[in-house]
Symmetry: C2
Subunit: 223 residues, 2 copies
DNA sequence: CAGAATCCCATTCGATACTG
DNA sequence: CAGTATCGAATGGGATTCTG
């Protein structure tokens, strides 16, 4: 039997540079996207697959094992009666968020970036944290629920911070519901009127939704 | 004849998330390290190889072609009599610096990171820009020359900013010379006395060197 | 020296099928 | 659901050769 392939080769680059070490940990295909999916909380194997269109069970298994060896991911046994296994980021894994955000922010500035591709609910939530205009968000508070393709999130804006957690939307000031994340992206980043987007429904304080949505914008393209 | 293999597959991940697009551009092995090496200015093919221990000519050729197609790198023909070809980052490529820095900063917090591996001169210079303590640097100015393994850089600290350019060291307030970057890293990050590091020489205003060196520190490890 | 082209092998990927 | 097993295809990377 072969060794289970090590993500942490340690000899990939033979370079003391931190960036090189980061690439040894999350530089394999899919690895960083797995981390992204876990950024908003633990997930089960099949939920991970759901957020990563196209990843195979084999590769996901390998990546999770590698990330676990590297100390980015932890496997957790949920107590009965759930009896399910979930994958969670470690403390260090959680700290990767700024790096993920900077990569996203950078890529979004390329004219070649196509924002029309499928978008996972987590991607959209993460993009809100990335693209929040913190100047404009000064003195704004909001409690917004998102229900996207069966997943529920709660974003609470205060003090220019925007924590987002997996949590039932019930009780939020505004709730956005959509079968796909792209609809909500259209309403926020393209400034489209929610009424024009079939499938999207905004319930609750609509005025508050508009105020919230205006706080996000994509970075300008270069060139 | 085959298509020259596209770095910009566009179908790698099929994901609108900016991070996923970034990975399509710089997610292949070595790609981001090539970008790192170019971050301080254009280089020739063989200089790139020098800073990337272990990359083969074939792979470097492929990555440069892919990065050029993606709009990260530009090929430039130097005017005669130089008659050399160099690779430079595009405007967008240059904007990748924060992402590279965040990845490095994150990786440096892992207990598993081994800073004893070989370090390219560019890596060290980039790490200074990353690890500068901008609070401590308030009201400090400095003009420091680095001559490492034949490459010369000039770092000018002012207004908490630290531009570093390839430029002769002559005329700087302090000049650090060393055959390998690791020696200078030891003097800065490990706080070692330059006098104890054989091969390292600091000339010029030594007091200024100490003030400068104290402005840099590695992030705390997690766990 | 600066690459492009070729050959070749090891590793990795990804689709499908299978199992507890 | 949560993975394993398997296999063909794609990619990675070393060595060598060829060119300007």
């Amino acid at each position: 039997m072969e060794l289970p392939k090590e993500t942490l080769h340690g000899k990939w680059y033979d370079d003391a540079c931190g960036t090189a070490f980061a690439l040894e940990v999350i530089g394999e295909r899919w690895a960083l996207l797995v981390v992204r999916e876990l950024m908003l909380g633990p997930l089960r194997f099949s939920d991970l697959r759901g957020g990563l269109p196209g990843i195979s069970a084999k590769i996901l298994t390998e990546r999770l094992a590698g990330l676990e060896r590297a100390g980015v991911v932890q496997r957790r046994q949920l107590p009965p009666p759930a009896a399910a296994q979930v994958y969670a980021l470690t403390e260090w894994g959680l700290l990767a968020e700024p790096a993920i955000q900077e990569l996203g922010r950078w890529a979004a500035r390329s004219p070649a970036h196509d924002p029309q591709l499928p978008l996972s609910p987590v991607s959209l939530m993460m993009s809100l944290r990335t693209m929040l205009d913190r100047k404009a968000a000064r003195d704004v508070t909001a409690d917004v629920g998102f229900a996207i393709a069966g997943q529920e999130f709660r974003a609470r804006l205060a003090d220019r911070k925007l924590p987002i957690v997996r949590e039932p939307v019930a009780g939020a000031e505004v709730i956005a519901r959509a079968p796909q994340a792209a609809l909500i992206a259209g309403a926020i980043y393209d400034g489209l009127d929610p009424a024009d987007l079939t499938g999207l429904s905004i319930t609750g304080d609509l005025r508050q939704w508009r105020r919230f949505a205006r706080l996000f914008s994509l970075p300008p393209k270069v060139g």
